[in-house]
Symmetry: C2
Subunit: 410 residues, 2 copies
């Protein structure tokens, strides 16, 4: 458990984060992240700076970079120039990676799949985009969680489908009552609703499966961080419960490995494979090959599993440190969903407006987006805190800082 990446990371992490925190806390407001281009001088700092509580960020200091680099070199040596050509008819990805992923998904997440059903994509975003365009054709209706994941909505907004918001309660997305007109696609995050963090109980999952069968809908199950569940048994994924073959399982390597890798995947029901491949070919032909092979090898050697295990342990400690400190500091938030993930949705319980609190924190170097940002019609009031990118020491210091800022607002 104290593997290469972890040991490497420790010595520098204290220094790194305390520096960053002090700088952001005392200096001018941090630069906005919306400017598409920056002067060269600002870049190095920007690449390294990760504001406390920015959401959904893995701690890349835990990543076994040496081992990844060695695997990459070994793949190049072993396969050489054969890797450099086009991959004709490899639109869905390198077969070796399809196989490693299928094994991982079957064994670790209970997904029912064969390798040939797996489409490797440029991040899970591409999977969502292609699925949205494949299913969300003119004249259709598609259901999206409200509040929900912004880039999934963006993917559907770029299609002619009509978007129908689905409310979310403490058990995740609520199944619409009564009979229903046909539905093209339903976008769900059952393992951990984004952004509230609710885990959907099995009974609710079965209702959704029944609803999809009744409305002839495809469910897109976005299982973006279910590897990280702390002290609770894993829940079966929706795809594994569905006997009708109506669930498309989507996942990403951005959380368990590193975001800049840009590898995601979709497990496609048989009848969607050809359509997905045709559309993806028009979008970008196929993805980069060398990283696909490196990842296949990384899974096969077990490095992948060791890394996930190491992260799960570290993130569990960080979540514990977060929740203990939030309680000790008497922060005005309720955290109803704490069984796993990379973020904690804190609902404001002192009547303050989440936009106001967010703005005040952001000016002082803390990035915790307001929950209202993720809503279409829903009215939520709270902040989302990512806790995985920083050590417990930084989390404690950051939350004390949050407490101070909120007291000045009160």
């Amino acid at each position: 458990l104290v593997g290469e990446g972890y040991l490497e990371a420790r010595p520098r992490s204290g220094l790194f984060v305390v520096e960053g925190l002090v700088k952001h806390a005392t200096a001018a407001p941090p630069p906005k992240t919306t400017a598409p281009f920056e002067a060269p001088a600002k870049r190095a700092a920007k690449l390294l700076s990760e504001l406390p509580f920015r959401h959904s960020r893995p701690d890349v200091r835990l990543f076994p970079l040496q081992s990844w680099a060695r695997t990459h070199s070994r793949c190049l040596r072993a396969h050489g120039r054969a890797l450099l050509s086009y991959l004709p008819s490899r639109t869905l990805g390198l077969p070796l990676l399809q196989e490693s992923l299928a094994r991982y998904l079957r064994e670790s997440r209970g997904v029912h799949c064969r390798a040939s059903q797996i489409a490797i994509t440029t991040g899970s975003q591409q999977a969502l985009y292609v699925l949205a365009h494949l299913l969300g054709t003119a004249g259709t209706r598609s259901l999206l969680e409200d509040p929900g994941y912004g880039l999934a909505r963006r993917a559907f907004e770029s299609t002619p489908t009509e978007l129908v918001p689905v409310p979310v309660d403490l058990q995740g997305a609520v199944v619409p009552p009564g009979a229903s007109a046909p539905v093209a696609a339903i976008y769900l995050t059952p393992s951990r609703q984004f952004p509230t963090g609710a885990s959907m109980p099995v009974a609710r999952r079965l209702q959704w499966i029944e609803y999809a069968a009744r409305t002839n809908a495809w469910i897109i199950e976005d299982d973006y961080d279910s590897e990280f569940r702390y002290g609770h048994a894993p829940l079966p994924c929706l795809q594994s419960l569905d006997k009708n073959g109506r669930v498309i399982y989507v996942g990403t390597m951005s959380k368990v490995l590193f975001p800049a890798l840009r590898i995601g995947y979709a497990v496609l029901p048989e009848e969607l494979i050809a359509g997905f491949a045709a559309l993806r070919e028009a979008v970008d032909d196929h993805g980069p090959v060398l990283d696909q092979l490196t990842l296949a090898e990384f899974i096969t050697t077990g490095d992948f599993y060791r890394h996930v295990k190491r992260c799960r342990k570290a993130y569990a400690e960080r979540q514990k440190a977060f929740l203990e400190t939030a309680a000790r500091e008497q922060l005005p938030f309720d955290f109803p969903h704490t069984d796993g993930g990379m973020n904690l949705a804190g609902f404001l319980n002192n009547g303050m407006d989440d936009q106001v609190v967010h703005e005040a924190l952001f000016q002082r170097g803390i990035d915790a987006p307001p929950l209202s940002r993720y809503s279409m019609q829903a009215r939520l009031n709270g902040l989302m805190f990512g806790f995985t990118a920083h050590t417990p020491a930084v989390i404690r210091a950051g939350l004390r800082h949050v407490g101070e800022v909120i007291r000045t607002l009160a």
Copy 2:
């Protein structure tokens, strides 16, 4: 000129290609390349097999793989974990690569651009797809060369725009006569018309620029292989001639480096940058980061330029060997466009049907697609021969084989 990659490649190339050729020539028909999945056993062979005269294939044996791998490792060591995170607001690419590319495009291809105008994409296909969707909205008309590049057409076919075919003559795409209704986008390959290989003279280029200004159209200039021009001075790209800022210049690394890299780019006029970035974010957020940095460094060190020069020399020799052999074997083709590129369009001059000739050759291990495959309304009769992926010895053997097959057909 006899650099690392070239010397490495030579000793094995004779063996490699003769083996491949004999196998394909005597055994059963080669496997179709349309099956999306294959049994593991077939893969290694498939990855290495490149049928003679398959079009637009660089010779990856010339690529300085060791030097690329060393650059990749050096980038990882120098930037380490800072490279692994998300690139917030880097939807258009790593600034370092935007800068190296801008320098290269200005100096080597005369493109007018600043780094901030360059969008790095997953292959040029993604650039074409995003541009098609950005410009080809409902109610618009878009002009495409006929015959033309199939995947460009596929990108436009996935939008609601109306496709209007533009005929092609010996000077490339023909400017429509007379006044014209507004046009959204015009897809052109002026440096080397795909698939005929015609280079557009400057006078015709200026007519297109005038036409675009008059119809308020954007021209997409796909300059996919203009680095390879043999024994002729380079022509200025359309983008460099246009004073109105209506040309979007698109290029790719698939031909000059290697296809599996999946890096392309578009040089965007200022007013299209924001729209392109927004759409690209929905498509796949951003591309993989490590290869972008490696490429930036590869350009900066000069390895890139050395490789292009080495390929240009090798490909010129191969084109010469091809044309000499075709003449000596009295093959029934006219090759009107021979000033550069990776392919030669051979127009059948003996009355045979290109589909029939293509089929007969494909059954005997020669892949030279019929020109009719690239047409919407145009009636062309000939084959496209790629000559860059094989040595002169293989080209000569392959063409003798082509002669034999055609004689059996006659």
